[in-house]
Assembly symmetry: C2
Amino acid sequence: MEHLNIGKHISGQFNAELEAIRNNVMAMGGLVEQQLTDALDALQRSDSAEAAKIIERDRRVNSMEVNIDEECTRIIAKRQPTASDLRLVLAISKAVTELERIGDSAERIARLAQQQDPAGFRNMLSALDSMGRHAQRMLHDVLDAFARMDVDAAMRIHEEDVKLDQAYEGVVRQLMTFMMEDPRSIPNVLDVLWAVRALERVGDRCKNICEQIIYYVKGKDVRHLERSQVQDLLK
Amino acid sequence: MEHLNIGKHISGQFNAELEAIRNNVMAMGGLVEQQLTDALDALQRSDSAEAAKIIERDRRVNSMEVNIDEECTRIIAKRQPTASDLRLVLAISKAVTELERIGDSAERIARLAQQQDPAGFRNMLSALDSMGRHAQRMLHDVLDAFARMDVDAAMRIHEEDVKLDQAYEGVVRQLMTFMMEDPRSIPNVLDVLWAVRALERVGDRCKNICEQIIYYVKGKDVRHLERSQVQDLLK
């Protein structure tokens, strides 16, 4: 991972701690990314054994969140960081919460892959697949941007979420048609709908991580702002 | 609001700051509670004018989140709190994020109340109403527990979420029956389904706030633990 210019601290130990925690976030991000990829694969292949492994591995994601957050608290208490160091620690604490919830989305998709009756929703999977790949790419890019604290990339990914939302609307309309044409399919379609919804949420969470990158680099909290307001702030 | 024993700081000013921020959280909680109550009322009365006001007021909820969080960061940087003071500030920062998202759930319900065709889902509202009242009660109780940092109450509310989840499953089954009996109702039922889902999420968020109360009082991070593990930790 590229080194950030996280300031020249009197304490080399403090620098090492900040580097270690950033490495832990990237390791957690890598695991979550793998979970999402594996879950989408397991779904396409109706691989319920793989799905079970993904569900089990979500515990590891959860404990990474708790451990990293604890380390953030420890650093604040011990090092009493201010300015950009404090922003880094707080941004990390918020980002890992988002990563943990992306892990939950992967778990939800894995649960769909575990369904007894894959034939019941096989014909809906292509719609889900392209949306899944879109969400995967957003996650990959946001992790990359977080590693480099790249605010321009964060802005681009932030905007990307609009497209994922549009894809989501399209898939929901398609699923609605399935249900109306064959009401017996409704329970199966609803299961798929929850997975699609989980993918849409992955986009929202990536967007939230982008906001933490912007917060760290620019010192500005852009949550809840309109896109044009964010752009103005960053000029 | 009852005074907490938030320690005797050398700086009376620091105490005043902690009190002020807790008052702000309670004010935000009060607004969010009102938003949820008003949204459920607007839905029952198909009052789209009231719904529009609720949607507009969500901006105030959002800016309260940002302001309180900024104040938390300022206190950490300036006062360099440790131990329970630091836990209080971090618990507040996490709790306001949950409150903001409960506000989003209220907004979603208000959007349902704005629908052009209330007759299309009038017959589904009774199922939603009892679940809504359940979620409302949970929110009310958790805000009360947060004001008093009452860990026993937090444990009770934490368990209450199981019941809300059961109610949710029941409502989803009922909505599925509506769809299967009358496929033309599917688009309307899906709108109701999203609102029901939003209520279920209110319970999750209340549970998360309970975890922050436990974290502050007991110094233990109980996120992702099984209920029995939480109970063991608190013995």
